[in-house]
Symmetry: D2
């Protein structure tokens, strides 16, 4: 076992980290408090700097303008970027675009790649991924209600979706719909690319979360496809391959999310320590701070242990996947149990750390004067999206209890 990072990796991470400190943190207050479209021009400037610095799209092959990092290396980068809610967006590796790029690279036709992938990878357009439905459980694909019916050279799509993240401002949507309701459950659906200016597509609203509908990239929309006719060339991948591709898409996404959450842990931990050492609470002298208080100390030590352990678990998962792929196996299939374990475990660690960091900040922790309140509310979804805790626990346990499972 070797827990060291190669010197080049360390240097790379330092570059991301420096950039973050210098150009990203100063924009956070604006991001937390102002409408997205009002700060978009400012963000565009920083994205240009990122490109100049050669740090754009770290997860994408160089052929498409990215850095072509391995899963392990990108995982470490994702942790650094996750320390700011603006990180992934500014470096061109934000969900859901990053997932859509991956799918396009693996399954897109040449035409789809030229038309959709190229501008997406350059950050010249945004996209969204319309899978979740309000009335069917996301964790059970057999219940998907959306339908795409073949009609000559076209498909006609009828679908009601929500939590279509970043639809507001997206140039196209990737939508999942059932093409053959009688096929075996996991072969029923297919994916389609639908430009958002296409007839039959409508963004109904941005869904208010915690009282706030938001706008642009960090919003989540309810969308409707009504008799939305697209040419068959807009199908992404083979007919019936929708679930397989979606699963494939989720694999790396979960690693990225988990390391992003570790980044959130780190940021929250730093803020918690800083606040504890600065907040004076004594009566007469100024040496008594929250940092002297045992309850706070216990939280800090517990957080540190949980964060370190969780990070190692994610990194080993990424490493196992890289290794398996390197040996020609499907790494994400091999690591199914690990991926389920980190999905719920890291989400839980993150939300506990954030909650305690909020508590250490007192009333300030609830305000948008700190990024913590943003983490507290907007990252609550971590225990829900991409499979709720409960689904991952059940799935992992079933596999773990199979006789052969030599985990």
């Amino acid at each position: 076992m070797d827990f060291s990072l190669p010197r080049e990796t360390q240097a790379l991470l330092a570059r991301f980290s420096d950039f973050l400190q210098r150009e990203v943190y100063p924009l956070e207050l604006a991001f937390l408090n102002q409408p997205f479209f009002s700060i978009e021009p400012e963000l565009a400037k920083v994205r240009a700097h990122v490109k100049e610095a050669g740090l754009w799209a770290p997860q994408i092959p160089k052929a498409w303008g990215g850095m072509g990092l391995s899963l392990c290396d990108f995982a470490l980068v994702s942790e650094v970027l996750g320390q700011s809610p603006l990180g992934h967006y500014l470096f061109g590796c934000q969900a859901p675009d990053a997932g859509n790029m991956e799918v396009l690279i693996r399954h897109g036709s040449d035409e789809q790649k030229e038309r959709f992938l190229r501008p997406l990878a350059r950050g010249e357009m945004r996209s969204c991924f319309a899978m979740t439905e309000p009335d069917t459980p996301g964790s059970n694909p057999t219940r998907l209600a959306a339908r795409a019916v073949r009609d000559g050279d076209d498909y006609v799509i009828d679908a009601h979706k929500w939590f279509t993240s970043s639809a507001d401002g997206a140039a196209f949507a990737v939508v999942m719909a059932v093409t053959d309701p009688k096929a075996p459950p996991h072969g029923r659906a297919s994916m389609f690319i639908v430009p958002t200016d296409h007839p039959g597509y409508r963004r109904i609203r941005n869904i208010p979360l915690f009282g706030h509908a938001g706008e642009g990239y960090p919003s989540h929309s309810e969308v409707r496809f009504t008799a939305c006719r697209v040419p068959a060339t807009n199908r992404l991948g083979p007919e019936g391959a929708g679930f397989a591709i979606a699963q494939e898409r989720l694999g790396p996404g979960r690693i990225h999310h988990c390391m992003r959450w570790i980044g959130i842990c780190e940021r929250s931990f730093q803020l918690m320590c800083q606040r504890a050492t600065e907040r004076k609470i004594g009566n007469t002298d100024d040496t008594e701070t929250l940092a002297n208080k045992q309850i706070i100390q216990a939280w800090i030590a517990e957080a540190r242990a949980e964060i370190e352990a969780a990070r190692l678990l994610v990194m080993r998962t990424a490493w196992r996947i890289d290794q398996a792929e390197h040996h020609g196996r499907d790494g994400f299939y091999d690591a199914q149990i690990d991926v389920s374990l980190i999905k719920f475990h890291v989400a839980g660690v993150m939300l506990r750390v954030v909650d305690r960091a909020v508590q250490v900040h007192g009333a300030l922790g609830l305000t948008s004067d700190t990024v913590l309140s943003h983490f507290y509310s907007h990252e609550r979804g971590a225990r829900i999206y991409d499979g709720p805790d409960e689904v991952h626990k059940v799935a992992a346990a079933r596999r773990l209890m199979k006789p052969r499972a030599s985990h």
Copy 2:
């Protein structure tokens, strides 16, 4: 021991509950999604209906237009009203006005009562309470930075406050400031009434919480008093009595809050059960719902046990206070330990129940299509305001470990 409620109390609670179902719940979606001022006229109509129904200001003596309920009876009403975030506001018993009314009734001069209490009790104006400061810990009165200096028949107030709840739209503020920095710690401060159109008073901003500054009643402001000169007749209570009055104010407030939180628990519990029984998750048939799942069942049973136990603990505290006051003692002084225990215990129970109700709702639980996301974010403060958990735990433990503490 007798755990029964008298028939009249039950009937009274039913009247509140019916009103809530009929006139308050239908307004919730608007409250969760629209600016406060835009729905204020609608709310005013409901308040008028409340008055017609004889349910206005249950906590205030009949002489001032209220119902004059005992602490125990109002605690039970507070639970019912707490089931909606609009409850207390619509029935004229919302913080911080309720607290200000209590203080004015006990300590206001006749002139103050006429000018400030009467319209407040009628719901014709709103008020705010400016105590918390950004740079001093709320839990330690000796660190208060605000100053009020006597100058002839006036006081000149300089203060920087925040989390002055409901300042936006308030007609006057009650502000706490140090009048004698050399007095013993708990005798340093005094309270003053400052109309918000008074020179020297300025509302700087509504503090964005979870990304949203809000407006009107449910907002929290940063305010500044700059060389703000008020006549000595605006002092509320004797000089140096600020802390004593603030403590007095907090006592009943904590009971009200705790029972409001129990109301939030009940609402969240109902929503959780309803969602569990309605959400279909099975593959082929429609009988498999979340309600069949053991993990959900465990949450429901655990929530029920915790809520029931917590309510009883609050009610016994209220009962002990009522009893002590009935026998001429200071009930809140007697019940200091109990009040500290329920403050942190019930806040914890509530946030656990809300969190699980959110989880059962999946993505929906994060949206403002349900009241749960509002509870999740806006009630996080329950573990912070009126003394954070940690302060109450330490205070209670010290008292409990004193030899005589025959608790």
Copy 3:
């Protein structure tokens, strides 16, 4: 609502409490460290004193030599007695004898009462209750393996039981066995009285718990009935009524257990506070004790809140049952949900409090120099016997989610 205890109840509890302090606590170290049979003569003397003091068998009707307390009053007594592991035994209300007495009083024939109940109620013999089986889940009666086959005027019993508490030294066993395997599940079994000197009955071993088989009253045995022939007059209650009677037996038992656990909480809490205030940890002076440490303070406050809330929940359950029975209803049927809730909730509170009290005692907490290590190991079963947590949670949740459940 009225949370007060009548003066007579208070006086009664004080008598139990005084007796405990004076005569029971001094015997604890011997109980914790010596074989049961070696201290039995000493215990017999104290039992005689209990009888002289008129405090014997508080739960049993006066006609049978007890005090005839109501469920509520006995619940309060049970809390007091629970503070010592010797309490219930010395006052004649120990499991499983107390349960057997109840069953005999309600269902015993006159002959059975004379022969078994009378000496049992006087503490002149002990008994055991053989229900749990090693290979079938206690929570599912339909899987019971024991058989009793009618043969003329006799039954022939074949059964393998374990966790037959207190079988070592018992004069008779009450055994549950299936008499009609084809009957509806809850009508299959019956109960029988089998004297332990009867042919075919054999105590195989005392089961070692935590490395220690123990002996006498506080031990748990594995027993076997092999072609054990008893006259039909030894059947306790009607044929097929075994489960109904067992359920009946469990109802009050759970209230008694829960209040006994509250007693354990109280004792652990006292010891925790005492240790915290006495244990010096500072470097140079003697004023620094564990009691000054915030982590310990937090545990003490949390424990106090949880204990108080849990006790109220149990007492309300007892009160509801007393009320229902008073009005001619089956109180335990009415209070099924409440009983399930307190069963798992109070067991959990107790084990948390005990665990923290152990931690405050450091190494001492693991030794038999304190009663805490006994609580830690021997009360772990509280989450298992009489229905494990999980079974009660599922049962309660199902009832709570039924539409009518107007809990």
Copy 4:
């Protein structure tokens, strides 16, 4: 990063694991249920087999008859051995002997090595380590009460110690006593070797833990040194170096313990899964087992995630220490924070996993028919010995909050 184990390490671990399955597990029931001295001859035979297999004393240099493994490799071995409570004892690496061997190797005089180390390393005698005192907190060295007064060529030792593990049957004790009460706190004490047949040394009793005094190796004694005169040549290391050596001794010990606890986790996890898949609970068919139950599944998944993450954290700590030592630094000093974090974190993970494994086993989990009850009670000390959780949390937090702490 490289999470793979070299093939030789894997092969080595497999040898330990096979041996354990074949020769150790079959002895466990006897160990759990019989007096130690009665099974000692049987254990001696297995130790001989261990030596024959070349697996004896893996942590000790080859020069002293061991295998000379690195800290990392021994950590992995310790996990394997930890799966049985007999593991470390049978392979010659049991506490406290392993620690005493380390100290003798580093600080023993040639004479001490010949007389004490050689037979100890061969398993021909046992030893104990007398540090903890009943009346002074183990976590604060300045309060140590034991005294060793220089008198000519001798020291005269007066000390009252307890939790002197394995004193029953030990040939010598290493005792810590203050030699210069006026020295700076960490330079006050020294260590001495005292043969247990030496005048003035007395083993008072084996301390009953959980009701059981035990005997021999797995017991813990109270011992007293009364005017116990030993020659100065029995001093182990320089005068005043007692604490430094004790700290040194604790470092590797904590790694060994943590990996032993991971072994306990693994064993408990296996037993939990096995029980869940085997225990039938359904009414009519035999396919319904505990393994189908969501609550159990959640425990299994949570346990797996926690165990994996915790193991990685310990291994990285061991790796960091090995690396630092390799580069000539004091690895344990460098890794102080890490060692504190794993000490409390892994102990907590272990006790949670064990507790849930017990619960899955129901009544069986409390008996000595399974190793789980042994883990439940005898490993509760993990949160206490070698520094209680609270002390490690506070120590780690203080270091983490220091500005430079670039953890």
